[in-house]
């Protein structure tokens, strides 16, 4: 031992001064420190807010989250009816599930204490088993810090004032990079497929786009929709309404992605090459289809694939029905439709144009000639306004107007147009009128937010300088000396809440008469069917109620040999429903006929 190290011996003894100090100990469980404001403890799930998209379950790298049925939660469109259950024998409290929850219903709480001798008691359904967690939420996401991308990739469009110069397509479509980026926002939950009348395989094709397999995406799309390019452009996209991302942000642009995918197949030949459909051998049965609208084409296409001999009778010079004649070309260019019709024809579907059933050929003839008849006749007529002076020159149906414009006829509308109505047709008519050089006012009974038209369309119309007058009820069309429309008189309306709980009703305010000048008035308040072609014999056989065919869930009318679909059957009156009808009818027809065979 060297010399005595005094400092080294005495210095440590100063530690003994701690003896008199207050201990640092927290006497748990007598006293305890509260967990931090951001503590990641047990989960809490707001059962009401949750839509059961299962994104939490997918992101969980520990397979700790199960989606289960719980009492009191029923599935509906946009809600799978399943709710997450956490296995605390797996959970690692990383809170990735919270970060990706699109609704923000899932969060973590400050609670973390659970001790048990029963290992089976660690399965918890958050929100159900710990309702008290609501007040202790600590780790949650806001729109800014969520891992979901709530901002849609903006769709490149023509400038508002540029658009009105021509009928060029307004929407330019995503380029590849944008499409990949937009597709990768999708969380693949599949809630959208239920809302889609046709139940397209949305998560699958979006995923294919996201991973760069556009061809696969096209194949998946063509699996149950033969007119995807049309849908990609003009679909009413109810899928986007229920999109999980839409709860807190902008929905995935499902429509635009479909459009992107189908546009990668430039011609019908390329489409045929990509889709490479499997066409069954001809089975000798034949199907006659009336109307080459979406439902007719769909039924025709898939029946042809199944080996049937399909013939379509179309009254107009071009196929497509309402999508051809009802939709303005700046939304849906004619090439694009032609491409699809060509493709469908290439599969073997025969289309007789300019053949109006009831005039050029009788229904009876068709009925007898084919094993099965499918009617996709649509609504060729429109409701009139029912006000004074409607017979004036320059007063017309918006639907007719669009038809004429689309078939290339010249329509004189003057320079001031008033469109009455708030649906897509009204907006279309207004925007077409803008392109024809008129100043346009839309007169609508209710508020702007009540308009049934797509918000994108309404915005587009406003961008293009369409003037929207909400809460206006037209009462009279004034004529000038030549019997031409001079102006429209309308009453202002106030919204009165409906006592029965329906949507508020507009009630005209007496004496609030206003007059707008107009050179033409277009009514866009609804369409109706024309079933005169059936003839006496079939009018009894095939039941019609409230202007629509009565069908069962297989699209079969009261005559078992006749099927129907499209606007003439369903109330939703959009292309995708028509396609769904066609597809459903196709399956039913196939089932029926192949049963006959055996």
């Amino acid at each position: 031992m060297s010399f005595f190290d005094l400092k080294g011996t005495v210095k440590p003894l100063t530690a003994l001064k701690q003896f008199g100090k207050k201990p640092h100990t927290i006497s748990y469980p007598k006293e305890s420190k509260e967990a931090a404001d951001r503590y990641r403890g047990f989960h809490y799930n707001d059962i009401e807010e949750c839509i059961g998209c299962g994104n939490c379950s997918t992101i969980c790298q520990n397979a700790a989250i199960d989606m289960i049925h719980i009492e009191g939660v029923e599935g509906k469109k946009g809600d799978s009816g399943l709710r997450p259950r956490i296995d605390h024998g797996r959970c690692c409290w990383c809170a990735l599930c919270v970060e990706v929850c699109p609704t923000g219903s899932l969060s973590l709480t400050k609670d973390y204490l659970y001790v048990s001798d029963d290992p089976d008691s660690f399965l918890w359904t958050p929100g159900v088993d710990n309702p008290e967690g609501k007040d202790k939420i600590s780790f949650y996401t806001t729109n800014e810090i969520s891992l979901n991308d709530f901002k849609r990739i903006p769709m490149p469009e023509l400038e508002g004032m540029e658009r009105v110069k021509s009928f060029a397509e307004v929407v330019l479509g995503y380029n590849e990079e944008q499409a990949r980026a937009e597709a990768s926002r999708c969380i693949s939950c599949g809630l959208c497929t239920e809302a889609c009348p046709e139940h397209m395989h949305i998560p699958e094709y979006i995923n294919a786009i996201a991973t760069g397999n556009d061809a696969d995406a096209v194949r998946i799309i063509y699996d149950n929709n033969p007119l995807p390019e049309m849908c990609g452009k003009v679909c009413t996209r109810r899928c986007e309404d229920v999109c999980a991302i839409a709860v807190r942000g902008e929905p995935i642009a499902i429509r635009w992605l479909k459009r992107y995918a189908t546009e990668t197949a430039l011609t019908s030949e390329i489409t045929r090459e990509i889709v490479n459909p499997e066409i069954k051998e001809a089975n000798g049965k034949s199907v006659g289809i009336i109307g080459a609208g979406p439902s007719g084409l769909t039924a025709g296409y898939y029946l042809a694939l199944r080996g049937y001999d399909v013939t379509i009778y179309e009254a107009n010079a071009k196929a497509g029905g309402a999508t051809m004649y009802g939709i303005p070309k700046y939304r849906f260019p004619i090439d694009s439709l032609d491409k699809q019709i060509e493709y469908i024809q290439s599969i073997g579907v025969k289309i007789h144009f300019n053949t109006k059933v009831g005039k050029d050929i009788s229904f009876k003839e068709i009925y007898d000639k084919f094993d099965v008849v499918f009617m996709g006749v649509g609504f060729p007529d429109a409701w009139s306004l029912g006000v004074d002076g409607e017979d004036a020159k320059g007063s017309m149906q918006a639907f007719r107007f669009l038809h004429m414009v689309n078939s290339g006829e010249k329509v004189d509308i003057g320079d001031k147009v008033v469109v009455v109505g708030g649906g897509n047709v009204a907006i279309d008519a207004a925007r077409v009128s803008r392109r024809l050089g008129a100043e346009v006012t839309i007169l609508y009974r209710r508020r702007v937010e009540d308009m049934p038209a797509d918000w994108e369309e309404i915005e587009g119309a406003e961008d293009e300088g369409v003037h929207i007058v909400p809460q206006g009820i037209p009462i009279k069309v004034h004529k000038d000396e030549k019997g031409h429309v001079k102006s429209v008189e309308y009453l202002k309306a106030e919204m009165v809440p409906d006592e029965r709980g329906g949507r508020p009703k507009p009630v005209a305010i007496e004496g609030s008469n206003t007059i707008i000048e107009a050179t033409s008035v277009m009514a866009a308040i609804g369409q109706m069917g024309d079933y005169s072609f059936l003839g006496k014999e079939f009018e009894d056989k095939i039941k019609i109620e409230r202007g629509r065919f009565v069908v069962n869930d297989k699209q079969q009318t009261t005559d078992p040999k006749v099927f129907a679909g499209g606007d003439a059957v369903n109330r939703t009156a959009d292309a995708i429903s028509a396609i769904a009808d066609g597809f459903k009818a196709c399956k039913a027809i196939d089932e029926m006929l192949s049963k006959d065979k055996n």
Partner: protein, 303 residues
């Protein structure tokens, strides 16, 4: 009063006292250590609970007969030490089985326990135990030298080998030996640090090296025996120090105060010290403690 039965009764009572006090002291030391370590620490009676729990263990695995001897020898050694150390100095109560030459006997008997441990630990076959025992024995060689020197100095100085005589000398002269032979006291106290096996001299059972060394294969009842013998032995040693240097105690309260003060020296020093390696501790004991021991002997011889 000189009846052997009476003395034996005294031994039994002092054993109970020793056990209780020893346990409580250890509990208190845990509490005090805890406070220095900024925490609250266990209740002072925690050691009793621990002992009860160890006693209530229902199974006891052993590796052979010799393993029983380890704790048994320890216990025997502690009790025998206690038997010959007079607890109080009033000559009547608890003077126990002292005799002339008991100081020398004590020197032997205090080594006896660790030797028994060595046998027991050897039987377990656990190399940790074996190494621990080796270390314990080498370390003992270290602190025995200043300890023996201190005692020899006392013997030379006061021409007696009896503890009672030494106590009586203090009582009669009114001066404690701590003042009349300070060097011996210093040497003995420094040796005591080693004897108690608190830090820095706890290499024997160092958990981070040897997984508690000799004790590593002893659980339950073995550990209970070891624990109780350690507390008895601690009390015996403390009493011995009080008897030798602080004039003994005339009643229990005085005894408790004096022993506690002595006891605090190794405890508090242990709290702030890391442990020495074996050879370092031997070098330590053969350094200053031995030097003081020599001084004490010289002092005794020449003054």
């Amino acid at each position: 009063m000189d009846s052997i039965w009476f003395k034996l009764l005294g031994v039994v009572v002092s054993f109970i006292v020793a056990f209780t006090v020893g346990m409580t002291y250890m509990g208190l030391s845990r509490k005090i250590t805890a406070r220095v370590q900024n925490r609250k620490g266990p209740p002072f009676y925690q050691n009793f609970i621990d002992a009860m729990k160890l006693g209530s263990k229902t199974s006891a695995i052993h590796h052979g007969v010799m393993q029983h001897f380890g704790p048994a020898f320890l216990m025997v050694s502690s009790v025998m030490s206690l038997m010959i150390i007079p607890v109080l100095n009033n000559g009547m109560w608890f003077s126990n089985l002292n005799f002339h030459g008991d100081l020398i006997f004590l020197l032997y008997i205090m080594v006896f326990g660790p030797l028994g441990m060595a046998l027991g630990a050897g039987q377990t076959g656990n190399p940790n135990s074996a190494i621990g025992v080796t270390r314990g024995l080498s370390q003992m060689v270290g602190f025995e030298i200043p300890w023996v020197m201190a005692l020899v100095a006392l013997m030379i100085q006061y021409h007696t080998t009896s503890i009672v005589d030494l106590m009586n000398i203090q009582v009669e002269s009114g001066t404690w030996l701590i003042f009349s032979s300070p060097f011996a006291f210093i040497a003995a106290v420094l040796a005591m640090l080693g004897m108690f096996r608190y830090s820095p001299f706890d290499i024997v059972g160092a958990p981070t090296e040897l997984a508690s060394g000799p004790m590593s294969e002893n659980g339950g009842k073995y550990l209970f025996t070891m624990m109780s013998s350690a507390s008895v032995f601690a009390f015996a040693k403390l009493t011995l120090y009080v008897d030798l240097f602080l004039g003994g105690a005339s009643n229990l309260i005085e005894l408790l105060i004096k022993t506690f003060v002595i006891y605090m020296i190794p405890v508090l020093y242990g709290v702030v010290s890391p442990r020495y390696r074996t050879e370092q501790s031997i070098r330590y004991f053969w350094g200053w403690p031995t030097f003081f021991g020599l001084l004490a002997i010289l002092y005794a011889v020449f003054f």
